[in-house]
Symmetry: C2
Subunit: 210 residues, 2 copies
DNA sequence: CGACTATACAAACGACCGGTCGGTCAGATA
DNA sequence: TATCTGACCGACCGGTCGTTTGTATAGTCG
């Protein structure tokens, strides 16, 4: 537990490798990305990876963890600084849109790519991704429930239903914007969630008009 | 142009190979799927493919074409037998849900997997997939416009906006149902589109209540 | 019948894959 | 000082990738 220059250096390059891995995986996927190309992109040697991870799957699992942390920093945290209720709910959606439009990750969304890659492939990575997505879904549901308790959403609003809609409308942004729509998908996704929330909110003035 | 038993046989195995390709690609993607495994799955030899396609990319392009045809048969055609207007629009969404829940493709949706795979990778396959998705989007928009002309959707309904919402809510079904939700995602997606259409329809009685 | 063509095959190619190996070197320990 | 350890490397392994080559077979046509 003393300060060890070797371990410090190791931790630093470990973080750098994970950041590159998540970025590249958002484009090519976690399996499509080969260790050789990853080594070239990070300026290290292929075999150097095995000082940090036992095999490729361990690197993939750590990459999922890293991406989840990045998501919390860029999307969840900004939303939590908004007042609870529908405003926080919409702030979450807007933070997500900003994450996409700012191009934080070259491929748009790490979890979208990885979900599509592993949804039919059983294994440790599948389970880890599924857990992350379940936690994300439950988090949106909690915000919906909180908004209902504050009287900012009508009683009929079903948290699971609304959470599904918000997530689906947000997640499909990247694929639409990249394949044909361009920036139009961003405004469509923003307006869709905004209108949905306003329709369910007794005080629509809490939210922007458009 | 005479009847040639060889070409007939060739066409038959060509179709059989394409069907297997689309099915497997809906799970593993078009690039993730290797010719060796594809050969094993179709009971042919790896090199036999090159009698039908110049290289892997040509097979991928034909697979996209085949999947588009399958989609039209299973989703578009059933919707067209419904009366035009909001009922046809909702029939389209329901046909899609049935396509997913029936498990027509082992991976759920070919285009979802392939979109995620090629959205950031330029090339012929990317362009072909993008065209297919644009045509699909435009088709939904035409149905929305038609419903407006029939007075079954209010004038404020924006075709591009509504088409985006319908497609996004439908498309995210598979990933949700496969990774955590189970069948709940199907009912969420169905109800979301139904409520959206009923809210925009002057005669909600045209649509089921739930 | 032979010439030709479409279909299919086994074998082999170079390139690249994930992973292992022995070794180098800097920093910690005593 | 000598010893040990963690980070990192180049070289290499067996295996799989997409593709090429050469060959066999079956159907068509002159």
């Amino acid at each position: 537990m003393t300060q060890d220059g070797r371990r410090l250096r190791g931790l630093r390059s470990r973080e750098a490798i994970l950041e590159r891995t998540v970025g590249l995986a958002s484009v090519e996927g976690l399996d499509g990305l080969s260790l050789g190309r990853l080594a070239a992109a990070t300026g290290t040697s292929k075999s150097g990876f095995f000082a940090h991870w036992r095999d490729k799957e361990e690197l993939q699992l750590d990459a999922v963890e890293w991406a989840a942390r990045q998501w919390k920093e860029h999307v969840v945290a900004p939303a939590m600084s908004a007042p609870p209720g529908v405003r926080r709910l919409f702030a979450l959606h807007e933070a997500r849109m900003r994450f996409y439009s700012d191009g934080v990750l070259p491929g748009g969304c790490f979890f979208f790519t990885v979900q599509a890659e592993f949804d039919d492939r059983p294994g440790a990575v599948h389970d880890r991704v599924a857990r992350a997505m379940r936690e994300w879904q439950e988090f949106i549901q909690r915000l919906v429930t909180q908004a209902k308790e504050l009287g900012e959403l009508v009683e009929e609003a079903d948290p699971a239903q609304l959470a599904y809609e918000i997530d689906a409308l947000g997640e499909m942004t990247i694929i639409h914007s990249r394949l044909h729509d361009g920036p139009a998908a961003l405004t469509h996704a923003r307006r869709a969630v905004l209108q949905r929330l306003r329709a369910l909110c007794p005080e629509p003035a809490l939210l922007p008009e458009d």
